[in-house]
């Protein structure tokens, strides 16, 4: 882990700079330090920042470009003909070289050319490390000396340090926006490439989805093969089933907890819901595939129904159970926001609890509940593992919950797992699906968050 070593070394250097800066401040501040504008440690911090930040920046840039440069140097040094044309193969080769370079004992059956390359790789790495160390030290010391020479009693070290920290905080807060931009850009670029091969109308309105066939026949963008309507329908079907399961259960759980449960019952039920909410989705997927699906199949068989072993019903029901705590905690929040005075007003008119809940609390909380349900829908649409494990790959154009369907997320996962050839429409299709998924959930989230916020403002 040379990177960690460099990081620690830079931090050590900055610590030294801190001590030097502090001492310098005490010197120029005179015996009583009254002339110093800020506490001496701020001068120390000032020097440390000037020493550490440039060094870290240089180091980060270096780390970003070094592996690429070293790799290409190693590849160039390989005997001609050993470098495959396929970039994917190249990355395998690089992995092999790196593994050899890191191996404690070189296996006897290794290719001598690769061993040579590994040795070359190691020597390059060593040179690079030494060079980096020298550069870091130089940058750090220049910064240190420069900052130290600027220390004077009148310098407002605290204000400067705080200004820097404030900038750093601001930059951190912008990272989330950067993440969104990165998501959008990466999805859009790959999608554009996909839509160059497959017309967007075929993708959005086509009724047949079989990316595998298109690849085997080597017909890039053969018409009809990338029609995503079966995926949309499958996603909608499973989402609908899960919402039908989750909303009534979640709502009634919330009602029970808010208005009926004794404190003791609440102390039991709430942690149960938290456990349910904390179970990883892959566990739900396993449960759906190995317990619920066979059960439903058996149940269907006993009443003469033919249930597919990977039915939409099993995936939808289990997903619904997964979303229950989500719906119940959101509904609980919004129903708690309904003022007690309304419940009192209704009770004072002689309404029973259920009449109050049905006719006053739920209608009052409805916007918030709708917002929560929209968030739940967004979550169900984007859920991956349950459907990957329990819903299957068959792109059937059906709304029969007993048949197997596939969803957008399942296709993204399966298109990108396993052998990958970037550039083939098959993998690019995953990005187009991802873009669509992102847009749909974005709209749902924004609407839901807006509705919930407006609702909260009403009662705050």
């Amino acid at each position: 882990m040379p990177n960690v070593t460099f990081l620690v070394a830079t931090l050590l250097l900055a610590t030294v700079a801190f001590v030097i800066g502090r001492r310098r401040a005490v010197e120029v501040g005179g015996p009583r330090r009254r002339d110093l504008h800020s506490l001496p440690s701020y001068y120390g911090l000032y020097v440390a920042l000037w020493c550490g930040i440039p060094a870290l920046a240089v180091g980060a840039l270096w780390m970003m470009f070094e592996p690429g440069i070293v790799d290409s140097l190693v590849l160039d040094a390989l005997p001609a003909g050993m470098v495959p044309a396929d970039p994917h193969q190249v990355s395998f080769l690089q992995t092999a070289i790196r593994r050899l370079a890191n191996a404690a004992v070189i296996p006897s059956d290794a290719d001598p050319a690769l061993i040579a390359a590994a040795a070359h790789y190691n020597s390059l790495q060593q040179t690079a490390s030494l060079a980096l160390a020298a550069v870091l030290l130089a940058v750090g010391i220049v910064g240190l000396v420069w900052a130290r020479s600027h220390i004077s009693p009148a310098m407002r070290a605290r204000n400067r340090v705080e200004k820097l920290i404030m900038i750093a905080l601001f930059v951190c807060s912008c990272l989330s926006v950067l993440t969104t931009i990165a998501i959008v850009l990466s999805l859009i670029f790959e999608s554009i490439r996909f839509f160059q091969a497959v017309p967007i109308t075929d993708f959005l309105f086509g009724l047949e989805w079989s990316p595998q066939t298109a690849m085997r026949a080597d017909q890039v963008g053969s018409s009809g093969a990338f029609g995503a309507v079966p995926l949309f329908l499958g996603t909608a079907l499973i989402t609908a089933i899960s919402i039908v399961v989750a909303v009534p259960i979640g709502l009634f759980v919330a009602i029970y907890l808010a208005d009926y449960a004794s404190p003791r019952a609440r102390a039991v039920v709430k942690p149960l819901l938290e456990i349910l909410a904390g179970i990883p989705t892959v566990v739900f997927g396993f449960f759906a595939a190995l317990t619920v699906a066979p059960f439903l199949r058996g149940l269907g068989g006993s009443i003469g129904l033919d249930v597919a072993s990977e039915s939409a019903l099993a995936a939808g029901v289990v997903m619904g159970i997964m979303i229950v705590p989500f719906v119940s905690s959101l509904s609980d929040d919004v129903m708690n926001a309904v003022p007690q005075s309304l419940r009192d007003g209704s009770a004072a008119l002689g309404a029973t609890k259920s009449e109050t809940i049905r006719q006053v609390v739920v209608p009052a909380a409805l916007p918030g509940i709708v917002g929560g349900v929209l968030l739940a829908v967004s979550r169900a649409i984007g859920e991956t593992m349950i459907v990957v494990m329990a819903a299957g790959l068959a792109a059937n154009l059906t709304v029969n919950p007993l048949e197997a369907v596939t969803t957008v997320t399942v296709q993204i996962a399966t298109l990108l797992v396993g052998d990958q050839e970037f550039d083939s429409p098959k993998t690019l299709a995953a990005f187009a699906l991802g873009l669509l998924l992102f847009c749909v959930t974005l709209v749902l989230n924004l609407v839901a968050l807006h509705v919930v916020r407006k609702y909260r403002e009403k009662y705050d």
Binding site: L342, G345, S346, A348, L349, P363
Partner: protein, 271 residues
């Protein structure tokens, strides 16, 4: 049951005084919130077609007593009531008594107007609907119209019946709440500082209203303002530190209180 109900002009009942029959009778009422005793041995009679004002400094237990009369304290955890409160001779803390039925007979108006987030019409129709008071839409319309009229609100909201009740002004909202309470035709209406959130003009309007409707109901009002008690009530009860210090005809309480604490309070020495 089918007697035609007409509004009795206020002037005719103004003289109703000591002679009215007792509607609510409280004997030896103690209320505890957990360990803390909020009311101590309260004995009080509330007479029919009178306005009884409960006054006293904050935290003296007057609201607690009010909420005992329709058992709204039931919902507060750890609250315990002992003693006997009867409505027309019927013990309302009897285990056989149905709280829902009791509250239909004893309406309540709260400190802060709390109209439901429904239309004006639905706010008033809420009580009649849950109690099955109207056989059809026509009857319901009738009840709503009469209640709004009696609360003096019909003229102002006639064109806004389908607008949300929360969109009315504060004073209108409080009168809507009174209309909502009246719609169920309760025997007793409890009012918990109904004007404390309102401006003086809206307050005056509500006070007028209280005086108008007492012809048909028995009213118990908690108020912070002694002037208001003097203006609207026929009888006044003074609470202090959970005790009922003194109760009597309003003019008497305000002109010649028997207890030193009452005197101190009404002359503004504390409270």
């Amino acid at each position: 049951m089918a007697a035609i109900e007409t509004l009795v002009p206020p002037a005719k009942v103004a003289a109703a005084g000591a002679g009215s029959p007792v509607t609510v009778e409280a004997r030896d009422v103690n209320v505890y919130y957990g360990e803390k005793q909020a009311l101590k041995q309260v004995d009080l009679d509330v007479r029919r077609h009178e306005v009884t004002a409960l006054i006293g400094p904050s935290g003296c237990g007057k609201s607690t007593f009010l909420r005992c009369i329709n058992r709204m304290n039931d919902v507060i955890e750890g609250c315990r009531v002992t003693g006997r409160i009867s409505l027309d001779g019927e013990d309302i803390y009897d285990s056989d008594l149905d709280v829902v039925a009791l509250r239909a007979r004893v309406g309540m108006v709260f400190q802060k107007p709390n109209p439901f987030p429904k239309s004006v019409y639905d706010n008033v129709a809420y009580g009649p609907r849950i109690h099955g008071m109207a056989a059809n839409r026509g009857e319901l319309d009738e009840i709503v119209a009469n209640s709004l009229e009696r609360a003096g609100l019909l003229k102002e909201v006639r064109d806004r019946l389908n607008d949300p009740g929360t969109g009315l002004s504060g004073g209108q909202q409080q009168r809507l709440c009174i209309a909502r309470a009246i719609a169920v035709n309760p025997e007793v209406i409890l009012m918990d500082e109904p004007c404390s959130a309102l401006d003086p003009i809206a307050t005056a309007r509500i006070e007028e209203l209280i005086d108008e409707i007492r012809a048909n109901y028995t009213i118990v009002i908690v108020t912070h303002s002694m002037q208001q008690a003097a203006r609207v009530s026929q009888r006044t009860a003074f609470f202090h530190l959970g005790e009922l210090v003194e109760a009597g005809d309003t003019p008497e309480i305000f002109t010649s209180p028997r207890d030193r604490r009452t005197h101190g309070y009404i002359t503004g020495r504390f409270g």
